[in-house]
Amino acid sequence: MRPTPIRSDGMPGPKTYNPWWGDTRNLKQRGIISYTISPFRTRATKNIFQDWLFNGYRRLAGQVPYWIVPFAIGYGTYAWAKRRDAWQNSKAGHLALHGHEH
């Protein structure tokens, strides 16, 4: 017996239908025919390094719009607070806030 059927036995697939996460019933389903290319005809590692670099960059770059604004606001707050704190503890800040240098 080839290892694949043993490994996927009881797992969802073309012949077994998993109704929902964690459900162990794994109902039988029929009428679904799947075709695969022979592993001897596929090139599993085709362009993996180019894909890792360029597709990886594409995927990461695609996420930038979602985090750039929160991080910019966060860093802006951090930088502003540090500047404000330094100014409050400076001679200029003491003069402006309390009217004297100490």
Binding site: R7, W21, G22, Y66, P70, A81, R84, Q88
Partner: protein, 341 residues
Amino acid sequence: MRLLKIDSPEPSNISYLWNFGSLLATCLIIQILTGCFLAMHYQAHVDFAFNSVEHIMRDVNNGWIIRYIHANVASFFFIFVYGHIGRNIYYGSYKSPRILVWSIGVIILILMMAIAFLGYVLPYGQMSLWVNLATVITNLLSAIPIFGQDLVELIWGGFSVSNATLNRFFSLHYILPFLLAALALAHLIALHAEGSDLITIFFFFLVLSIMVFYYPNFLGHSDNYIPANPMQTPASIVPEWYLLPFYAILRSIPNKLLGVLAMFDVSRIRGNQFRPAMKVAFWFFVVNFFILMWIGSQHPDSPYLEIGQISTAFYFIWFLFIIPLIGLAENTLMDIATESN
């Protein structure tokens, strides 16, 4: 013939972000083992605790590495647990049928923070003493109106942090990790999954070795190398980095909430990959968490105080309002779109 039967099917596109669980188990095992050896040489007495830790560092064979591993793995424990929770929130792992897994996980997190807090008191340095004083006072005394004072005295076993406190904290720091291990087992049973990836564990050991051998005190506070002195308050009281966000939250509000246990996620879509609004909201939450971590390390002075209060408000608003509102908006838009077709 059935070699492997998995009753918790995962999508095929899971990534290294799903390895935090096994990393956390590794951390727990390391902590229990190193902690057991540290306990053989530690003295839970106010007069001897600090010196016994120095004895472990200088005299005990390989004691220094055992202590540095114990201290640094505590940090990595929290790095991984925050990563674990972040992955959970991003990919909607808390949703059915994993509600029980999430609920046990929340209890584990709270227990973990308690254990780490108890452990930090044991070396009995300046920061051990004063963080304990400051946190217990802000957490319990000011939070609980009538019997706050009694509760604090009950926990401390006196009117301040004393020998009785150190003894009971040591005892609890030793026993509670076993409760944590039992809860972690329940967490696993609720998940029903096995299997991990050794690559991440090896990578963790590599980074941990760099920390232990080259920067063992990077994540600690230098004041904790001064013996505890109840007569001298340090210039600033800073808990360990992993407790800072919650320290900032506790410090920001006089009347504390019990914490967020539930996720009010009403969206029909699992995870954030196809929910742009939720993606942005997620990153706002992450940034807010870092802001709170930073605020916790600052003096409660003018700009930091207000930022801490706003961040604390956002932390709770995020769970209570932002998540349900985004889900509601998505579902409504989905209904309008399908009805118009």
